[in-house]
């Protein structure tokens, strides 16, 4: 068996029913308790009223009987006194009283001894009933000396009419019958007032007792009467009559209430008391009986008085208990029935909780709280189903976006240079760069490439992060490549990029860019900054490159970017970075800061680190600082070390010509002598000759506005490994490296006549380089020997 408390707790219907029944029981108890208390009072009062009334009736009746006896006696005694002269008439009168008064038991008209001389000592006319017939005798004789009897003496001595205490009238002449009687005795006096005898009428107390006892307010109630000494002379227990007083029992079993009541009755008081009579709780009502000194009492057992009340109480209690049990059962059923949808809802919820979101909920058209709950639940389930669907879609979309982002990330990585060292054949530059996006794709960019002995490089940072930034980054990167394909001036390149980016910049994004062009033969750095952090120069110490800040790309299309320049000394490392380095944050939102960057770079300088080591060191530093915090921004660094080799000249020669093609043979001879001195292969020498002729003729033809004016200088240098030929003029600025490459695949009709000169120079030489310095065009052509 389960724990009953547990059993009740498990069910709302049980709890609810129990509570309801519990409170109903309390209310019933209080109401019924009050009602029964009031009823008890009423019943008691009713009992008192009823008993008192009965008692009054009884007393009235007894009094009337006694009065009747007195009246009958008084009606006769005047006859007796008038006819004293006729003694025999006394028999008539005695007989007549009896005959006229059926209540009477006997009547004696007794005279003093020798009152009637002729009659002797005794004369008492006595009439009595014998077998229902009135007998009249002279009762005085020697064995019954009547004038010594109490009834006779009392009246004589008291000198007034009296009622005798009841006594057992034993008359041996009358078949030993004993009757309890009470007698009304009245003294007889002659005209002189002398006492002459006593007239006595007997009242049978059996009869009186029957009369009294007939009055029973309750089935088990009874009446009793006591005389002046407390002697019972009316009592249902005949044995007690005359032999016991009201106090007799108290001698055996002390009963103070009973004694008190006995005394009160003897005192002639009227009242009521609750006490035990013969071991039964009873209400006793008592009242004196006229002037006799007797007292009548009605004893009503409590059980009789309250019998109806108690029966009613038991019945009501029974009904209430049955009612409460029925109530409990019915409420339990009703609540269980009402809560049925709730249970099925709970079952369905369990099913739903296991993942069956499309489980149908029971339809319920109820409009009460349960109906609303059911409705809300259905709504919630539908929302849940929708939400799960959306979640699935979102997750799928997210997964597809993620996979796309991975592809994008790979594309972005492939867009940037990723082979390091990028120029293994070159000893003059060592370069290393890295981009670590904060998300799959980043908005940082860097790029570099070599063209015509110039290193083009840039670093940039698109505002924002993620896919939009990555797209603009890709655009910027492509534009950088496109714009610098034939242009070497950083500001021109920057302007070109800016104009294109500004064109359709509806997202209002912008890019900070630092763009540099390092002329490798001369070490001259031209750069243009568009709002990016100034690069740091790592030489003997760490210095900041003095940059104009300018506006970032994408803000103002007509922004005039200007080129700045400076010389880079051999051994210097140019360190470029994005703000992902300086603004890298640790968990306390503290930024790494430029000071830490510079400090760390100083140690790199001290340890003479190469670009790759520098970047590794910087990354380590940032990671140590940031620790577990998420990378807040893309982090990009580029380090470029410039280490031009010493050119150990073994041959150097110069030729200056005026701008006249007629001087070309001289040039040819000059070149021929150079190639011969270097013992160059004739084929290679021929290529060099053709290239130089084309370059020089180009200058002669186009450098100076006026034909035939101006000079062109040709310098030839060699260290034994390569031949450098430098063509210098002070004509209009012309960058042959920016010339469009001739299309050698065109048909005869489409092919332009000119434009092959520069093309040939580029094709024939290993490398060319153009610089404009001090208003001079300097074209260097390099051919490996």
């Amino acid at each position: 068996m389960k724990n009953p408390i547990q059993y009740i707790r498990q069910s709302l219907s049980r709890k609810l029913s129990l509570w309801i029944v519990f409170f109903a029981a309390i209310i019933f108890n209080v109401a019924l308790g009050f009602m029964f208390t009031q009823a008890l009072k009423a019943v008691r009062q009713e009992a008192i009223n009823r008993a008192t009334k009965e008692l009054d009736n009884t007393v009235l009746r007894v009094n009337s009987i006694l009065n009747y006896v007195e009246w009958a006696t008084n009606n006769t005694d005047w006859l007796v006194l008038r006819h004293l002269d006729a003694p025999d008439s006394m028999f008539v009168y005695s007989r007549r009283i009896l005959q006229n008064n059926p209540y009477l038991n006997g009547c004696s008209i007794a005279f003093e001894p020798y009152y009637f001389k002729d009659r002797g000592r005794f004369f008492s006319a006595y009439s009595y009933y014998d077998d229902g017939k009135v007998q009249t005798v002279q009762e005085g004789n020697d064995s019954y000396v009547y004038f010594y009897m109490d009834w006779y003496q009392t009246a004589k001595l008291m000198d007034r009419p009296v009622w005798t205490e009841p006594f057992c009238d034993f008359n041996p002449e009358l078949n030993n019958t004993s009757v309890i009687i009470a007698s009304y005795c009245k003294p007889l006096k002659d005209e002189a007032g002398n006492y002459i005898g006593t007239i006595s009428t007997d009242l049978s107390l059996d009869w009186l007792s029957e009369t009294i006892s007939a009055l029973k307010p309750y089935p088990n109630s009874y009446s009793m009467m006591i005389g002046e000494g407390g002697t019972y002379f009316v009592h249902p227990d005949k044995d007690k009559l005359l032999y016991q007083t009201i106090f007799t029992e108290t001698l055996k079993y002390p009963n103070p209430e009973l004694s008190a009541m006995g005394h009160a009755m003897l005192r002639g008081e009227e009242g009521m008391c609750e006490l035990q009579m013969d071991g039964v709780d009873s209400y006793v009502f008592y009242k004196p009986l006229g002037e006799t000194g007797w007292s009548v009492a009605i004893v009503c057992p409590e059980s009789d008085i309250f019998e109806g009340y108690l029966k009613l109480r038991h019945l009501v209690a029974f009904i209430v208990v049955i009612g409460l049990i029925l109530m409990l059962l019915i409420f339990s059923r009703i609540v269980t029935h009402e809560l049925k949808p709730l249970r099925s809802l709970a079952d369905q919820t369990d099913t739903i909780a296991k993942g069956s979101f499309d489980q149908l909920l029971p339809e319920d058209n109820r409009s009460d709280e349960i109906g609303r709950l059911s409705h809300s639940f259905t709504n919630m389930q539908q929302s849940l189903v929708r939400y799960v669907e959306q979640l699935k879609e979102t997750t799928a979309t997210k997964a597809s976006i993620e996979s796309e982002l991975k592809v994008a990330s790979a594309i972005q990585a492939s867009m940037l240079p990723r082979i390091f060292p990028p120029f293994p054949e070159r000893k003059d530059i060592d370069l290393y760069a890295s981009m670590k996006p904060a998300k799959e794709v980043g908005g940082d960019l860097f790029d570099f490439f070599l063209r015509d002995e110039k290193l083009f490089f840039c670093i940039g940072d698109v505002s924002g992060k993620g896919a939009p930034a990555a797209m603009l980054m890709a655009v910027t990167h492509s534009l950088f490549r496109a714009a610098s394909a034939r242009e070497s001036d950083p500001s021109v390149i920057m302007r070109s990029i800016n104009e294109t980016v500004c064109l359709d910049n509806e997202a209002n994004m912008f890019v900070t860019v630092f763009l540099g062009v390092l002329d490798l033969p001369s070490g001259r750095l031209r750069f243009c900054n568009a709002g990016h952090d100034s690069p740091l120069l790592l030489g003997s110490g760490v210095a900041t490159l003095d940059c104009m800040p300018n506006l970032p790309i994408g803000i103002l299309s007509e922004m005039k970017y200007t080129t700045q320049e400076c010389g880079i000394e051999a051994g210097t490392t140019i360190f470029l970075y994005t703000d992902g380095l300086t603004e890298a944050m640790n968990i306390d939102h503290e930024q790494y800061g430029k000071d830490r960057v510079v400090e760390r770079l100083k140690t790199c300088v001290e340890q003479k680190m190469g670009p790759r080591n520098i970047l590794d060191t910087m990354f380590d530093g940032v990671h140590a600082f940031v620790q577990d915090a998420d990378q807040s921004d893309d982090l990009t660094m580029l380090a470029l070390r410039y280490t031009p080799g010493q050119f150990a000249t073994i041959l150097s020669d110069t030729l200056t010509l005026n701008c006249d093609v007629a001087r070309v043979p001289e040039l040819n001879d000059f070149i021929k002598s150079i190639t011969e001195r270097l013992n160059m292969d004739p084929t290679v020498a021929g290529q060099v000759q053709l290239a130089v002729e084309e370059a020089v003729v180009n200058v002669m033809s186009y450098a100076y506005p006026e034909k035939g004016k101006g000079f062109v200088t040709i310098k030839a240098m060699s260290d034994g490994h390569e031949l450098r030929l430098v063509v210098i003029d002070s004509g209009v600025a012309f960058d042959p490296t920016s010339a469009e490459k001739a299309d050698t695949t065109l048909s005869v009709e489409d092919r332009p006549i000119g434009g092959l000169g520069i093309f040939l120079v580029r094709e024939l030489m290993d490398s060319i380089n153009y610089e404009r310095v001090d208003n001079r065009n300097i074209l260097m052509m390099i051919k490996n020997i």
């Binding site: 003729v697 695949t745 092919r751 092959l756």
Partner: protein
């Protein structure tokens, strides 16, 4: 630089001798104008041409365009390796009939 022009039936043969550098190209320009007007097949004999600059190539292309207008053709014959490599480089091999 020397140029010898001979005619054999419908064929005009121009033998280019020496170096055709920028200077030479200017010198031979008038003769080249003659060749532009040649009808029939023009054969440029390069067996003795040792050098050609872009100016020379320009003349070659001018002749080729003129011939194309008249429906004639230009044959370049006996190129040295040096000249051939320049022709290769500049895509001229595709413009001329090479013999």
């Amino acid at each position: 630089m020397e140029i010898k022009i001979t005619t054999e039936g419908k064929e005009t043969i121009a033998a280019l001798i020496g170096r055709l550098d920028t200077m030479a190209a200017q010198e031979i320009a008038p003769k080249m104008d003659e060749l532009k007007n040649v009808s029939g097949t023009l054969i440029l004999d390069c067996s003795e041409l040792s050098y050609i600059s872009s100016s020379g190539l320009r003349i070659f292309l001018t002749l080729r365009k003129a011939a194309a207008e008249k429906g004639g053709k230009v044959i370049v014959r006996s190129m040295s390796n040096e000249i051939r490599s320049v022709f290769m480089m500049t895509g001229f091999m595709n413009l001329f009939e090479i013999q």
